[in-house]
Amino acid sequence: MNCVSENSLRAYHDAELSAVQDAEIEAHLSRCADCGKRLGEIAATAARVEKQMVSLGAASAETKIDAQAALSRFKAQQGAGVETMPSRLDFVADETNVRARSRRWRPLWIGAVAATILLCSLAFPFGRGLAQRFLGTLRVEKVQPVRLDFSALDGNRPLQEMLRQMISDKVVVTADEKPQPASTAADASQLAGFSAHMLDARTDTPKFIVGGQHAFHMTIDRTRLQDIFDQAGRADLLLPATLDGASVSVNVPRSIMVEYGDCPEAHPAGSTQPKPTQPRAAAWANCLALQEVPSPVVNTPSDLNLEQLAEIGFQLAGMSATQARSLGQTIDWKSTLVLPIPRFATSYSQVTVKGVQGTLIEGSGRGGPDYVLVWVKNGIIYGLVGHGDSSNAVALANTLN
């Protein structure tokens, strides 16, 4: 037998070989001083290192680990949790309509704006200097996908009533315009007050809809907000005293929706018209909706410690205090749109669109897969909603003129 390999000597030392292999090596060692010496060196090194490594293990053994309790904590920390992994929102009444398609994603879009209003207005850590007394202003420059879960608030009727009442009492709406159609891009641009952008990849003539401006202001009532937290089961979250009486104003400018494709007309409930017989997936294959809205503007008092409130907001959305703090520290609140990932999403990824970072969220509905791609450039937030394969979404968005 030739000399024993280092691998075999080590395996022999660790009793990892079969009885036959052990016998062969022992026979060799009995007549080979070199291998015996090498085995001695390997064993000595192994013993020294093992002694060091075991010292780490000694401390580890002292704490009893309750896996069931850990699982409960894990589920609580992950918001929707393991038992309620994201479910689809089956709220689309008639998915043969492209407008209905965009409605499917509307909660996401509205959620994005709502998150801007809620989190950015509550978490804008600018200008704490006493000298800076004028209003601070937020404008969105980029998007940050965040998995938030407010499901704990669902079905809590007293809470919903408290929220409704507070909004009714405290929120003063100063603009609430209806959407209106426009016949051309020039008309849409004139109505919206900014230039409509279109996709060069689509040569068909799109439809234009100009969304209305929405604006409101409110004075924060800390006591009532604290009551709402209590009702939401989060009495542990304490709002800072500086929040009381703070004035927040929000202005969401007019938007433009550009709709492409040979899309079926609406088929409202009760209509006597026959429903389209074309398969849904095929009917939507060519439909594409591009939404464009200038950054909402949020004004808050500059001396309010709002970073702390963002952490509270994240905790309300199911995060642990540690997670909320970690996440809050990674976000530049002056310029970031917090984008809640909807529950019906099957996946999301960060992509580059027109040289900036965007977020591609994919979902799956009754009519097959769909997606929304969100990015921000030059002060405009873009949302591209499409049906079918999302692999072309970024390429399509990159043809924005």
């Binding site: 080590r10 660790d14 990892e16 290192v49 060091q52 780490l56 850990a70 393991v82 309620t84 996946s347």
Partner: protein
């Protein structure tokens, strides 16, 4: 990419019940491995949650349960060693290790306690300095894994585990001497 699935189904493969079973089965060992690496129980639990979150969001998870265990341990050691190597966290590690040593209140005198803490700190420093796969191998071997288990978890050839162990130990010793000089232990 984060992948999520249908209600009650995770990541195209693992179902809710399976995930919970895997969590309860492997969590103690995952925390144990991580605590051995980072030296702080709370930190180890945070990292363990990250490990299971990765499993939870894993796009493809069709492997047999045994392989999921290997994946969990490999991911745990990866995360733990990454955490050790992150210089930004180094001060936290030292602080945490200090707290850990104080909180454990082992039946030893002050001198022994300080000595043990310093020794652990030196070992962790060396683990953070050598190649991560070597550190992984040493940590998992010290956790009691057999060659077969090491091979499966770390995706290395069964026939080369011995050689890799010898090399990892040699690297550990060499770096230890470079950093802390020649001592009796190493």
């Amino acid at each position: 990419m984060w992948a999520v699935g249908e209600p009650g189904v995770m990541s195209e493969g693992i179902r809710v019940g399976e995930f919970e079973t895997l969590f309860v089965k492997h969590y103690p060992r995952v925390v144990g491995i991580l605590r051995r690496i980072v030296g702080d129980h709370g930190w180890a639990e945070d990292l363990a949650n990250e490990v299971f979150l990765k499993l939870y969001r894993r796009p493809l998870a069709q492997e047999p349960e045994a392989n999921v265990g290997g994946w969990l341990y490999r991911t745990s050691t990866n995360l733990g060693i990454d955490a050790l190597r992150a210089t930004a966290r180094r001060s936290r590690f030292e602080q945490a290790a200090g707290q850990d040593a104080r909180q454990n209140k082992p039946p030893e005198n002050g001198f022994e306690r300080v000595e043990r803490f310093e020794r652990e700190q030196r070992v962790r420093t060396v683990l953070a300095e050598i190649k991560p796969p070597q550190a992984q191998l040493l940590v998992m071997r010290a956790s009691g894994d057999s060659y077969k288990e090491l091979s499966a978890a770390l995706e290395i050839e069964p026939g080369s585990v011995g050689t890799l162990l010898v090399r990892a130990e040699a690297a550990f010793e060499q770096r230890y001497r470079e950093l802390f000089g020649s001592e009796e232990d190493v």
